[in-house]
Structure formats: structure tokens, C-alpha cells
């Protein structure tokens, strides 16, 4: 294990956390479906793992993100496919346009299984290519595609307020 043993490295770590923790927290927040406490736990756990290997990590931010993805994969494997987050308050209010539509969508995202949500976060927030998502999830590219497809379809079921005939990969969903 490589550990920080000098003040200069510790300062570098503190500066990294200070500068990048807001962005990393945003990812953790999405991965956990808007659960602030779970997001804080996820980020802190990832940082503990990162600091333990600090000297070998060339790109700390990428490393922390990878650890969070994998941690989330590992947690959902242990927990099974359960919905762990409640939808944000007011998420299912009526309204189908603009901001309202996105609030409805948040509620639906929060109610996905962690696996479904993680796939969508990796694809649409992190903009990772399918092959990279497959590597993180330990599955084939085909499985990433089918999981993405099913997750989007599930959003439509969870949020019938999304009345428009949105398309998934060019297919009309209803």
C-alpha cells in the first residue's frame, strides 16, 4: 500500500479534495438517486481508498470516479436489486413541460434500481462509451445496451406523466 507520509503529499491531497469534491459529490448524488447521506458515504469511502494509493494514482479524479462506480456496483450486488431511494418530495406533481418534466424525471430516476440508475448515469451524465461502461459493470456491451434500453423503458412506466411519445434509440416507446 502506498500511503501519504509527508506533509507535501498531504497538502496536495487536501487541495485536490477542496477543488474537486463538489464535482465528485454531484456524481455521488446522482449514483445514489439523490440520497445525500448515501452520497456522502460513497464519496468518503472512495476518497479513503484513493488516499491509500495516493502516490500511484496519476489522475486522482478519474480514480475516485472509478472507485465510486465500482463501489456502487459492489453495493447493489450485496443488497440485491432493490430500490433504495425515495423519490424527492413533490417529484410526481402534475406538469409535463420544461422544469416540471425534469422534476418528474428525477422522481422516476430515484425509483430505478441502483443498477439501472448507474447505467444511465454512466451513459448520460459521465458520457462514457458503452465498452467502458461494460468494463466497469463487468458485463458485455450487449448487456449495457439492453440494460440502458430497459432502464429508459422503466422510466416511462414509473412516470406516466411523461405523456409525450418519447423515443428510445429511435423507437417510439408507445
Amino acid at each position: 500500500m502506498e500511503v501519504i507520509v509527508d506533509a507535501a503529499e498531504e497538502r496536495r491531497f487536501r487541495e485536490f479534495v477542496s477543488a474537486r469534491s463538489p464535482a465528485l459529490m454531484r456524481l455521488a448524488f446522482l449514483l445514489t438517486g439523490g440520497d445525500q447521506h448515501a452520497a456522502e458515504d460513497l464519496l468518503q469511502t472512495a476518497l479513503v481508498k484513493t488516499v491509500a494509493r495516493w502516490k500511484r494514482v496519476e489522475t486522482p479524479e478519474a480514480y475516485v470516479r472509478q472507485v465510486m462506480y465500482r463501489q456502487q456496483v459492489s453495493w447493489w450486488r450485496r443488497r440485491g436489486e432493490t430500490v433504495v431511494a425515495d423519490p424527492p418530495e413533490g417529484a410526481l406533481e402534475d406538469g409535463t413541460r420544461g422544469t416540471d418534466l425534469r422534476i418528474v424525471m428525477r422522481g422516476a430516476l430515484a425509483r430505478l434500481t441502483p443498477r439501472q440508475r448507474t447505467v444511465l448515469v454512466l451513459r448520460y451524465y459521465e458520457d462514457l462509451p458503452e465498452a467502458e461502461v461494460a468494463g466497469i459493470l463487468g458485463c458485455s456491451v450487449g448487456t449495457v445496451r439492453s440494460t440502458t434500453h430497459r432502464s429508459l423503458a422503466r422510466l416511462r412506466v414509473l412516470a406516466p406523466e411523461l405523456k409525450e411519445p418519447y423515443t428510445i434509440f429511435g423507437e417510439v416507446t408507445r
Binding site: M1, I4, E9, E164, I168
Partner: protein, 408 residues
Amino acid sequence: MTIDELVRQTLREWSEQAPVPAGDLAGSVLRRRGRTRLRTFAVVAGATASLVAAAVTVPALIQRDAPRDDRGAITVVVAEPDPSTETAADPDSSPPKTLMAAGTTAAYSYYTWAEEKISEDRQVRKMTWHRYDRDLGRYEPTPWAWLDVARGGRAAAFLEKVPANRVGVLTGRGTEVRWIALDRPAASVYWSPDASRLLLTNYSANPDESYVMEDGGRRTSAPSRVGFTVVDLAEGRSTFQGLPQHPDEMATRNDLSWADDGTLVWEHSSSGSPVKRYYDLRGNARAAPSKEADTYQEAGLSPDGRRLAVQSPDRSAIVGVQDLTTGGTVPFNSAPGYWIEQSVAWADDERLIVWACETKGDDDCVGGEFRNRLILVGLNGGEAVPLSGYRENSEVAGKSWEPVFTTR
């Protein structure tokens, strides 16, 4: 708009709602890392067994996987018939010169460490052990590379080097040393809670050796743990079990320690929860006993088994105390003038020995979080009793030391 575009927009917008991490996140991480690191490196405080006058016999010749041999059995002195429970402290010294003890526990040894360069690109972490000398009434340096003092403070087991092909046992009577040969070299030794057995962790190379880093850090070699050896002193039997390092562990030193009841051994798990992995004495993975696996806190279970030192449930403290009868956990920071950073040992059922930094007014940790001392604190508050002076920097070789507490 396609639904995936809506998802993309929603995620971007939603992420902006994420709270900014509160408090000193880096500091929290470094403190957690410190505990994790300590666990991979430090000796675990010893037994919680009740205090009785006890003795175990050590056959003159320990045989490996062989029947008992009683030739020339000798007695190891383990505990006083009526040990003191008075508080002993050396609050002006760091490291301490005279005994630190409270209630049913005492630090009969402590160690310091330093990196020594052994070639152009290799270095080795050397530990220097000090043992409490009853006759002189102070800690004295030892020549040993590893030391573990049995409960009672008289008998001791040690390694002359790391790794070593034999372990020495000081019986507690005079200066006689019994040597026990090992099939495979070992880099640590611990007394079982009842002081009848020794647990040694075997390595094929020196686990404390590493590459020299230009900036003063250390990068370790490949893990070399091969298993562990249990020496049953009473039975005169030494048994090796293969148990290579867990693939998730990066540390090269990953010693095995005794569980509280002496029937299982455990290793630290850096993957989070649970924080310890347990094995039986045959090296088979086993479920963790009671709650002791669930805590990073060194102090663990109270002597009566009713309380567990844990992480604080909120940010008002670092250490928490869980009542195992009710399941409730309360933050533990009841030491005026101090910020409690880590629990080390239970002095008795109502008092904890902890590392704490000094606070003045609204200042966090005067001199930084790594300047800390051992204090004795009651669960119900009251004045904290300093047991040692302040370590200059608990993270830095040459400025720090680590005590090893065991039952008096």
C-alpha cells in the same frame, strides 16, 4: 426530444442540487485512513479475560504438528494474584518514561519506527520496541524487531528480526528465554487472550520492505504472506496453516490477530464493511463473532461485553459508544479541552483510553490533528486524565510512538 436527451438534461440539472460536502472532508478521510493504516501496522490491545493468577507450562521442546512433549516443562508467569487498578501516567513525556496504566489495562510496551535505506532503491521500516521494566520502574529499549507482552506484563514473546525463523519466549521468571523454531519465517507474534498460545503470521519475504520514493513516501512490494502458525504452549504443538494475502489487500504487512475469545483469528479488511475478516485456526473463513467485527475503533468491546467503541453516529464526535443491550449509539466527546480522535482501550467498563488533540476556544486541534496525547475519559464525562505527553506528529516517523495496551 428523445427520452435519453431528457434523461441527460435531468441528470445535469439534478446534479446541481447536490450539496457541497460539509466540514473538513479531507481531514475526515485522512483520519479514517490513519485508523485503517494503524490497523495494518499496529499491535492490537490484548485480552479482556478476567484477571486471575495464572500460569501455563511450556514444554522444553516445542514440536511441530507432533505429540506433546513434556520434557522440562517450565512455568510462564502471566498475572499477579491481585493486580493494581490504580491510574499510572507520565503526562509530561512523549514517548512515556514511566508506566501508563488505568483500571484493568496497561501499556507494557510501545514502539517507534523509522525507514532505513538498505540499497539504492530499497528501504525497510524498522520498529524499535520499548518494554516496561518493573524493577527499574520505567520503559527500556529492547533489541527486538517485534514484541508482544502477555497479560500481566511479565511474560513476553519476541522476534529477533523480521521475518524470523524462531520466536523467543520470556517466561516472566528471571531472564530465561525459550526458543521455538518455526517451519516458516514470521513477522509478528501475538499472545492469545489466555496467554496459552502464540499466533505468528508467516511471510516469505520482509513485509516491511519497500521501494524508496523520491518524495519521502513508500511504495511496497508484492504481498508475501503465506499463512499463520499457532504455537500451543501447553500442548507443545506448533501448527502452520496456509493463508495467503486476500486479493483485495494492498498492504504487504497484513498480520493476523486473535479474536477476543481466542477461538478465531482475524485480519484487517480495507474494503470497508465488515472491517475484519475472521478465520478459524485451520484457516477457514468464519462469520464474525458478536459485534466486534463492525468497528474500526481499537478499543472494541468493553470488559463486560456490554458496550462497543464504534464510529460516532454523527459529526459531533469521531468516536461513539454503542450500548449492545439496547443497540443505541451515542457520540463520545466528553473531554473538556480535548477533541477525541480515536479510542485505544477500555480501562474498565466505564472509562476509555483515547487519543485526543488539544482544543482551545473555538480552535480545532492546537498544532494540528496529528498532535495528540493519550487521555483517560469516563463515559459520563468529568475531567480527562492525561496519561502521556503530546506526540509531536502521530503520522511522522521520529515524532510518534504507538502504545500496546494489554490486561494488567
